[in-house]
């Protein structure tokens, strides 16, 4: 579940570090070109692009996208906070999403989650949303249905998708984080 962030508070950890390269600009322009009727349509694609490049979406990303699409920053922030895939702070190098929804739950995703949490030495801090390890290596959160209910429980490790992740398989997945 996304953290209920409140705009105007410390919702962001600071500006994203890194250069906005000509390659990035070009990728962005190509994405915008897919929406000849309204470039506002390119907000989600550009948010994906930014998050994939910088790891999260902070004020720098919001403002860059707003400028690029001639929007107000709030019109971009509205989306960052609406869509759970987007995050306003960096996650661990290896981010795990465990499906929480009924079929996976029936398949034991709660145990998978607990195993991962233990393996990553993560403590729930009372906040909803992702838990991040102190060294920034791991982060873990529940996700809603990932649409692979027949092979429950399922896990996303960064962009890699894993099926039937029981406690044993979870151990392997964590061990495989190189």
């Amino acid at each position: 579940m996304s953290v209920p962030l409140h705009a105007g508070t410390e919702s962001c950890v600071g500006a994203e570090k890194g250069e906005i390269t000509p390659v990035l600009e070009k990728q962005a322009d190509e994405l915008v070109s897919r929406y000849p009727i309204s470039k506002r349509s390119a907000v989600l694609p550009l948010l994906h692009l930014w998050q994939e490049t910088f790891g999260y979406i902070g004020p720098r990303g919001v403002e860059w996208i707003a400028r690029k699409l001639s929007l107000q920053e709030i019109q971009v922030l509205e989306l960052v906070t609406f869509y759970p895939w987007f995050r306003q702070q960096p996650y661990g190098k290896f981010h795990f999403r465990v499906c929480r929804t009924l079929p996976c739950a029936l398949g034991g995703s709660g145990k998978t989650f607990a195993a991962l949490q233990k393996l990553m030495n993560l403590k729930a801090d009372g906040h909803e949303g992702a838990m991040i390890s102190e060294d920034g290596r791991f982060s873990l959160e529940y996700s809603e249905c990932l649409a692979s209910c027949g092979t429950a429980p399922v896990v996303l490790r960064n962009d890699e998708f894993y099926e039937k992740v029981d406690e044993k398989r979870a151990t392997e997945l964590v061990a495989g984080c190189q």
Partner: protein, 455 residues
Amino acid sequence: MAFSEHRLIFKNIDAPGYTRDIACYQKHGGYEILKKGLAMGGPAIREEVKKSQLRGRGGAGFPTGTKWSFIDPAKTTKPIYLICNADESEPGTFKDRQIIYKDPHQLIEGMILSCFANGVKLAYLYIRCEFTEGWKILEKALAEAKAAGFLGKNILQSGYDLEIHVHRGAGAYICGEETGLIESLEGKRAYPRIKPPYFPAVLGLYMCPTIVNNVETLCNVKHIVEMGGDAYAKIGRPNNTGTRLLCVSGDVVKPGYYEFPCGAITLGQLIFNVCGGIRNGRRLKAVIPGGSSAKVLRAGEVYKIKEKDSQGNLVDREVKLEDLRMDFDSLAAAGSMAGSGGVIVMDDTRDMVECLANISTFYAHESCGQCTPCREGVLWLKKILSRVAEGHGRDEDPALLKDVADRIAGRTICAFGEAAAWPVQSFLGKFKEEFQLRIRRNGAAAKRDTISLTH
């Protein structure tokens, strides 16, 4: 196996040696139907789709031909858009994933045919971003199709131009609702639109006529063009034509995806024969037959269903749960729905309070927050259910839950209200004693099944 599948959409999926590249697709006859369709012309394709009686596979089961007929490409002056809804998010459903990952060109061919039939020049493929590889597969497949002349300018020298772009969602279930999807595609929060006046066929994407069809639906169009609408309509049962992709999950021996003619098998056959019965030698307790929004069915239930007898007269027939046909009309008659084809099976060890709490957590998380009953009511349902599941239930909670659910369903902007309310209404209605028992024991019975996960 006694119940062999009829694989139409899934014909090549998982077939040995079958790959998702265009060469393999073409080797199996791919894009030949496109040539046929282009020669037939748009109106003829629309006519065949109408004749096929194809019903939408996204959840609502609305007749596709009728949906298309709301737009007349010959008359409208605005551009017409088509959007493929590949935001597969209904818990229990994982059919579109198979098509996208394993046979993307089938979808693209169906989509090109549908676009051509409706005079669409620009189309989008809205895919959920959790299909982290799926969107790349589709982009590659689109590039292949374009390189082969099936997309872009003057497709196969027909004079017809079409661009299709992939658009990734970002983890919001509500984008499966077609007007929410359109808002999302316009770069906004996915707030479903009020209907009237914003029917997609009239005021859709960029306020232009828009068709939104599910992945499976668009694939079916290819097969309808191939075999003709009348022949297609012979598969399945009247008003429930074609095949149906069924996804079975939960407590069965062999969960997975299957394809059968609509209504060709019963729920019992699906669970006990096709899927090998209930896991660990347990017994069936409950089944949600059409994605988590569908009303739950309880083992042992008997439904009164109106059916035509051999003389064509409507007669009441008593049908046991196991004998329910897996088609639109039968499941609707049983008070539930075929929905998106996601069958979630629960065995007799499952605690219905926990299961419902889990489902309600999903809806509370996914409510877009636009309209009052859903925004406030669904989180309220979740909070009550979590509390009851945690052993702090009160005697009045079941009645309160029902009342809150009743005041959501039918009063919201979109069908999400029903989707969130129906599980509550049906679980409470059918497993009342479990809720009462849970509340009576409360703290004493705090040993929780871990499935609730109402974090």
